[in-house]
């Protein structure tokens, strides 16, 4: 690779000129221009037909010569789906496949037409209705007589019907006047058949095909979602030309507080207000822009009118305007009403978080690059020498022979299996990188095979697409093809992937896809995929498919037995089914540590629970304090990996002096102590769709003060985490929500009543974590060097009592790596409940069986006001035994010691 190229990707600050803003996006300009002319659609309600699954009718506007077909579906779980497409397009328009887990079960909607000019479709119970108004066309979503959402009430429905290209049209010129936009100048401006950006020309064989629609969310001021942006959790109002962009791009050192598109896209937005949460899932994989405008309910302070009238006028509202370059309008309305319901509705459509193998919740050590086997061995030994737990060693692109994935650099890694055996002996794992670009080299087997079978994305002219990436000139596997995915999956078989073993897992990077000399560092939109679809139709889902194929490959190599682990940089709605996501090339600055929290919260509420940010910051060199704070924050974020780019100083945890080494060690150990809780949370995400990392509003949906909080969050429902993200902090303001709640400092056991902000003094070793009264958190009392070394180590329980003196919590356990929990029900799901002085360990799911020899050896009860006189344990066989305990009156803490009851057995402990 030449120097110029390197510079183009390694330049510290992102060069924003490389990337488009809205003004450079032709379909945005077209929609803006057309919409200003305002030509409204009306529904032809006499055309209504009721099919088996959907209700169909035509909609039309004066400009459109042909009507559009709208379909409304009722879907199980209080979901509506609206599709709008051309009735008979010139050729089929792209409808995103493979994202919905299965064909969603439809429920029959009962149509009860209201007055003329309207149609009402109700669900079975009749509490949810779609009220369709004919002219102008509008749909109101009505829940229990309250209009919660209106569609097209602003008349921004926009649909460019496919046309015959002007060249062909010229032959039958006389037919009719090509009504609009044919002047040369207009063509430039509107980019109908050709769009220029920098020195790139996008030739569009299909011409303009963009779509758009508006949604008014009544009474909502808080909207979230549509990752990925380096932005606040709560979505901001967009101004002209500054819409949230969803277009997967490789943005090295992306700017923060910016709405430009970065590595992945989930076109799914959530809205929340007191009493209701809604979701709008816009299933479209082409470039998409989202405009948001919130009118808060403050107007009545300014009006002269009486309070009643003022209130009417002052009702808050958020308008969300979606625009996509191509495809059809296919939108799911998730009606909630609670956050938890919305999460379930969304995962019903796109799938839940894959159950990660336990090791992947440990700490990951990565660097571009660990140079050779010797380096790997030394770093691995460094962790033991400093007694820091870790689970996974990572190898970046340099481990390969000239960036040919699935190969090893023979000089640096002459014996990869021996290296993996070393890691295996400590029950650790290895992750190596595998990117979608394949070096053009006829002697490279992967290339030769893919070339021979036509497995690459093709260019506009029909040859294999060629672009520059790490290996130099490369072609890109077309993962949108099932055949290509199947073949790619087969490359992970142990017999095919030389030097791989069953402790090797995979990392998919650069899969936006990143193309160094392409427009906006990605693929030309008119590249051609399987089924002759243009890249523009499916750009945002390319990375999704690679991770899908990789995960499938890892499952297949174990004959379906083992759970995969695949990290991906690019993603789409539903990527949670295949593994983990990280926030890409961040920078070693405090502001990036801070923004990691809202970025991960946003991913979490859009289904992607297994997410993280590079600890320490990928680019640049963090000072010791920042690194420590980042480890502390990362220890409480789902995917926990230290990573650094090539030209940074080495930063293994022990390179910053003894004191900092100890602090990092402490942070990582806290992570390992909490692994039982983490694992249980992931199980809940997996089976019950609840995010692992939760914004406060999710846990406290009735408390307005929580709706904008993004410097702290809930881990599950039990722990509130407020990472320190400021340099030289001596105190942090922690908001403890819930007027009926009580919160306990997880280290000092000090407690506070909820609904207040407390000033917590912090030293460099403080990670402000608070346990919510009423919860039980399972922990490991002994920390080993990796999760695998802790299988048999004992458990502890942190029981934090609510104001009513009770607590509940769950615990999940399985073998940590296989699918037996699923196929053979080999798992343990326990429930701990504390009430009236009795702690009961009972079965939470009788279907599961998993023998564990682990014991609970310590129980800590926080908030016990009264000094107990005696504590007795009652084992399953009915035997009662006194338990030794210590009680601290000052902190109201009871510590039960010398305890040895099996974690999987029914028992109770009585405190008197």
């Amino acid at each position: 690779m030449d120097a110029a190229e390197k510079i183009s990707v390694e330049d510290e600050a992102v060069d924003k000129k490389i990337f488009k803003d809205c003004s450079k996006i032709a379909f945005y300009r077209r929609q803006k221009q057309r919409l200003s002319k305002k030509s409204t659609y009306r529904a032809l309600l006499d055309s209504v037909t009721e099919g088996k699954e959907s209700t169909r009718f035509q909609i039309i506007n004066e400009a459109a010569k042909v009507p559009l077909l709208a379909e409304v579906y009722g879907i199980e779980g209080n979901i509506f789906r609206l599709k709008i497409n051309e009735e008979t397009p010139l050729k089929p328009r792209y409808e995103v496949p493979d994202v919905l887990t299965s064909k969603p079960s439809t429920v029959r909607l009962i149509s009860c037409s209201g007055d003329t000019g309207s149609l009402v479709l109700a669900n079975g119970k009749g509490d949810l209705k779609c009220h369709i108004t004919a002219n102008p066309f509008k749909i109101d979503l009505v829940s229990e007589e309250e209009v919660v959402m209106s569609i097209n009430s602003l008349g921004q429905l926009y649909f460019e019907q496919l046309q015959i290209p002007p060249k062909q049209r010229a032959t039958k010129e006389n037919e009719e006047d090509t009504s609009d936009d044919t002047t040369q100048e207009n063509q430039e401006e509107l980019g109908l058949w050709e769009e220029k950006f920098r020195n790139f020309v996008d030739v569009k064989d299909n011409g303009p095909a963009s779509i758009g629609l508006d949604f008014s969310l009544h009474g909502f001021e808080h909207v979230y979602g549509i990752p990925q942006h380096a932005e606040s959790h709560q979505l901001k109002n967009t101004s002209d030309g500054d819409a949230y962009r969803l277009y997967n791009l490789d943005v090295y050192g992306y700017k923060i507080h910016d709405k430009m598109g970065i590595y992945g896209s989930v076109p799914y937005l959530l809205a929340h207000k007191l009493g209701r949460t809604l979701g709008v899932f816009w299933l479209n994989a082409s470039e998409t822009l989202v405009e948001i405008n919130t009118e808060p309910a403050v107007k009545y302070a300014l009006t002269q009118m009486g309070p009643v009238a003022a209130k009417e006028k002052g009702r808050s509202q958020t308008d969300v305007h979606w625009m996509s370059e191509s495809g059809i309008i296919d939108v799911f309305l998730l009606t909630g009403p609670t956050p938890s319901d919305v999460f379930k509705q969304y995962s019903y459509l796109t799938g839940t978080q894959a159950m990660p193998p336990l090791f992947s919740l440990g700490y990951h050590q990565c660097r571009w690059n660990y140079k050779d086997e010797h380096d790997v061995k030394a770093v691995d030994a460094g962790f033991d020498e400093h007694d820091i737990p870790y689970d996974v060693m990572w190898l970046d692109i340099e481990h390969t022979e000239g960036k040919r994935y699935f190969t090893w650099d023979k000089k640096r890694f002459p014996n990869p299996k021996r290296m993996q055996e070393l890691l295996r002996s400590k029950k650790r794992k290895l992750v190596v990188i595998s990117d979608p670009h394949i070096k053009i080299d006829p002697d490279y087997l992967v290339y030769a095979k893919a070339k021979e079978q036509g497995f690459f994305v093709r260019n506009h002219e029909g040859g294999d697409f060629e672009g520059v990436c790490w290996p130099g000139l490369s072609s890109y596997l077309d993962f949108t093809s099932p055949k290509v995915r199947e073949w790619y999956s087969s490359l992970f078989a142990f017999s095919v992937y030389q030097g791989s073993t069953d402790i090797l897992y995979i990392w998919n990077d650069m899969n936006e896809p990143s193309v160094f000399r392409g427009p906006e560092l990605t693929m030309q939109k008119n590249a051609i995929h399987h089924g002759n679809w243009e890249h523009r139709e499916l750009h945002n889902i390319y990375g999704f498919y690679q991770q899908m194929a990789t995960a499938e490959g890892l499952i297949q190599r174990s004959k379906g037995k083992e759970r995969p682990f695949v990290l991906t940089r690019s993603f789409f709605a539903g990527s949670q089914k295949y593994g983990a996501v990280w926030t890409g090339d961040n920078t070693a600055e405090w502001s990036y540590l801070k923004i990691s929290i809202p970025m991960l919260l946003t991913l979490s509420v859009t289904g992607i629970s297994f997410c993280g940010a590079d600890v320490g910051g990928f680019i640049g060199n963090p000072e010791a304090e920042l690194l420590v704070r980042w480890y502390q924050a990362g220890a409480y974020q789902p995917f926990f990996r230290g990573h650094a780019t090539k030209n940074t100083k080495r930063r293994e945890p022990w390179l910053f002096g003894e004191e900092h080494t100890r602090l990092i060690q402490e942070a990582i150990r806290e992570r390992y102590a909490l692994l039982p809780y983490w694992y249980s949370l992931f199980y809940s995400a997996h089976v019950a769709s609840q995010p692992v990392m939760r914004p406060l509003w999710v846990e406290f949906p009735d408390e307005l003060e929580t709706f904008s909080v993004e410097d702290e969050y809930m881990l599950g429902s039990a722990l509130l985490v407020h990472p320190v993200t400021e340099p030289k902090a001596t105190v942090v303001d922690v908001f403890l929500p819930g007027s009926s709640e009580v919160w306990y400092d997880s280290k000092t056991f000090a407690h506070w009543e909820g609904a207040c902000t407390v000033k917590i003094p912090v030293a460099l070793d403080t990670i402000p974590v608070f346990q919510r009264g009423g919860s039980v958190v399972p922990i490991k009392t002994t920390i080993g060097r990796s999760t695998g070394c802790m299988t048999d180590s004992p458990y502890g329980l942190w029981v934090a009592l609510s104001t009513k003196g009770s607590a509940v919590g769950e615990f999940y356990l399985d073998d940590g790596h296989s699918f037996q929990y699923l196929h053979q029900k080999q798992f343990l799901h326990r429930k701990f409940s504390f009430a009236s002085g009795v702690l009961i360990n009972s079965c939470a799911d009788k279907r599961g069986h998993y023998p564990s020899k682990c014991v609970v050896e310590q129980i800590l009860v926080l908030g016990l006001k009264k000094h107990p006189s005696s504590v007795t344990s009652h084992s399953p066989d009915g035997k009662a035994q006194p338990v030794a305990f210590t009680y601290c009156a000052k902190t109201s803490t009871l510590n039960l010691e010398k305890f040895s009851l099996n974690i999987g057995a029914d028992w109770k402990v009585q405190i008197q």
Binding site: S425, K426, K427, T782
Partner: protein
């Protein structure tokens, strides 16, 4: 428990009964007849709570053989190899940490006892190392002796040089005086010569101008009335002053100083100077030398890539002589170079007489004498500088910190290379480290000598080279050279553990410590 029993026969007779994970030295703290007091004294517990898999002591000392305490240590005897303390959290975690396998007695995995094998290997390595150390140390002693001697010699030489330096200094001073004396008459003679020539030059220039004026006057005086009139002047439109391409009556009159005509004398006195630059002779249209640029640049552009015209070249040489600052005059004539690359074009004097005539015999003799004095002086000055340089080098070398006994001195002024796949690394101790691509290309500096860089107690175990070539978006390259005991002096490895921070290993006898006295026979130590 069974496992332990099986292991017992392999143990040595000296094996004393002690709780699991306790070392022999600590064994007396664990007396089963008494309650156990934590080693930090923090608590006392009944002895049956030792190794009962529950942590009672803050320091973890009641659970040396289980993983119950987060901060305990487990002792492996490792008979046949070295005893080892491991974190007690690693007990029964499924990873074999002790070579005797005693840390995994209840985790379901069976650890092979590899102590014997490890011990054997270790002994071999130690033996080899001991052999190397002995030999290396022997060489080191020689090196020390060598340096002692060399140092003395150098000291002696230094004294000699310092003495020689004094007399050289005197000589330089003497020659300087002689030189200055010889330069005085030289300067006078040369100045005189130049002055004469310049006067001559001025005179001939004035005469030439006069001639030009006269001939111009004659040309202009069309009616030969001995006066140039306005009308006559107007026949030369090139004299136009307002840029309209024609010489109007008014303009002409202005040129004639307001008069309507002028006679030859006042023409050449007053008017000629004002019009000479524009004036085009009717006979030889371009003959007049022009002071303006175009004449010089235009032909250059038009010139085909043919042989250059020697005449022009001469002109330009000429011009340089005039341009040259008047500084050193002596050898100027010889040092003239071919065409000057830049500089504003000057009025070029085409005539031969512009060249300064050769010096007369007398002047030349002065010059020769002065030159000789100068040469002698410079030569003496050079040798003084050489001597000073040698003195400096010697002083530096003698005072250099070459280790406690100067054992590293022999590395001074040596260089050692290591060739890897891509690069040739070069270490010139106490000077620099560099890296050169194997397939050609210029070397990159990985640092120049900084200081000894070993830890305080072992300062001479490492060297630091700093301020090498800067890294792109990074620090300046630097290298740490670790010195290892070896029989030969050789660079054994170069790595880049952190970006642009290199680590080199140099084997040298000078790094060999004094070996312990020869061990009596063999097999004296239990643990190995």
């Amino acid at each position: 428990m069974l496992l332990v029993l099986l292991l017992l026969p392999m143990c040595w007779a000296v094996e004393v009964k002690r709780p699991r994970g306790v070392s022999l030295t600590n064994h007396h703290f664990y007396d089963e007849s008494k309650p156990f007091t934590c080693l930090d004294g923090s608590a006392s517990v009944p002895f049956d709570q030792v190794n009962d898999d529950y942590c009672d002591c803050k320091d973890g000392s009641d659970e040396p053989g289980t993983a119950a305490c987060p901060n305990g240590s487990f002792h492996c005897t490792n008979t046949g190899y070295k005893p080892l303390y491991i974190s007690s959290r690693w007990v029964n975690d499924g990873v074999c940490d002790c070579c005797d396998g005693t840390d995994e007695y209840n985790s379901g995995i069976v650890c092979e006892n590899t102590c014997k094998e490890k011990g054997r290997k270790e002994r071999e390595t130690l033996q080899q190392m001991a052999e190397v150390t002995r030999e290396g140390f022997r060489l080191k002693k020689i090196l020390i002796e060598d340096w002692k001697r060399a140092r003395e010699e150098k000291q002696k030489k230094l004294t000699e040089l310092q003495a020689g330096k004094k007399s050289l200094e005197d000589q330089v001073e003497l020659l300087r005086t002689l030189k200055e004396e010889a330069e005085k008459p030289e300067k006078e003679a040369k100045d005189q010569h130049r002055k004469l020539w310049e006067e001559q030059l001025a005179a001939s220039k004035a005469q030439r101008e006069q001639e030009l004026a006269t001939s111009a006057f004659q040309e202009l005086d069309d009616d030969m009335d001995g006066a140039v009139s306005v009308a006559e002047l107007q026949t030369h439109p090139e004299l136009d002053t307002d840029g309209d391409g024609a010489l109007s009556e008014g303009e002409a009159q202005t040129l004639l100083g307001g008069d309507t005509q002028t006679d030859a004398a006042s023409f050449s006195d007053r008017i000629w100077a004002a019009i000479r630059d524009k004036y085009r002779s009717e006979v030889l249209p371009t003959d007049l030398p022009s002071p303006s640029a175009p004449a010089l640049t235009e032909p250059k552009e038009e010139q085909p890539l043919g042989p250059s015209q020697p005449a022009e070249e001469e002109d330009e040489e000429e011009e340089e002589t005039e341009e040259e600052e008047g500084g050193e005059e002596g050898e100027d004539e010889d040092s003239q170079e071919t065409p000057p690359p830049a500089g504003p074009p000057q009025t070029v004097s085409p005539t031969e007489e512009d060249k300064m005539p050769p010096y007369d015999e007398q002047t030349q003799a002065f010059i020769n004498a002065a030159q000789e004095a100068r040469n002698k002086f410079e030569e003496a000055e050079r040798s003084l500088k050489d001597v000073e340089e040698s003195i400096r080098n010697l002083e530096q070398e003698i005072s250099f910190d070459f280790g406690p006994n100067g054992e590293f001195a022999y590395l001074y002024s040596q260089c050692y290379e290591l060739t890897t796949n891509e690069y040739v690394y070069r270490l010139c101790p106490f000077k620099l480290v560099s890296q050169k691509p194997k397939l050609g290309g210029s070397p990159t500096s990985l640092g120049t000598w900084g200081s000894w860089a070993g830890p305080d107690h072992d300062k001479f175990s490492a060297m630091k080279y700093e301020q090498g070539t800067g890294c792109w978006q990074g620090p300046n390259r630097s290298t740490t050279v670790r010195l290892l005991c070896g029989k030969e002096t050789v660079v054994t490895s170069t790595t880049e553990p952190s970006r642009c921070e290199y680590l080199m290993e140099l084997m040298t006898p000078a790094a060999c410590p004094e070996p312990p006295p020869e061990p009596p026979a063999s097999g004296n130590r239990d643990e190995l």
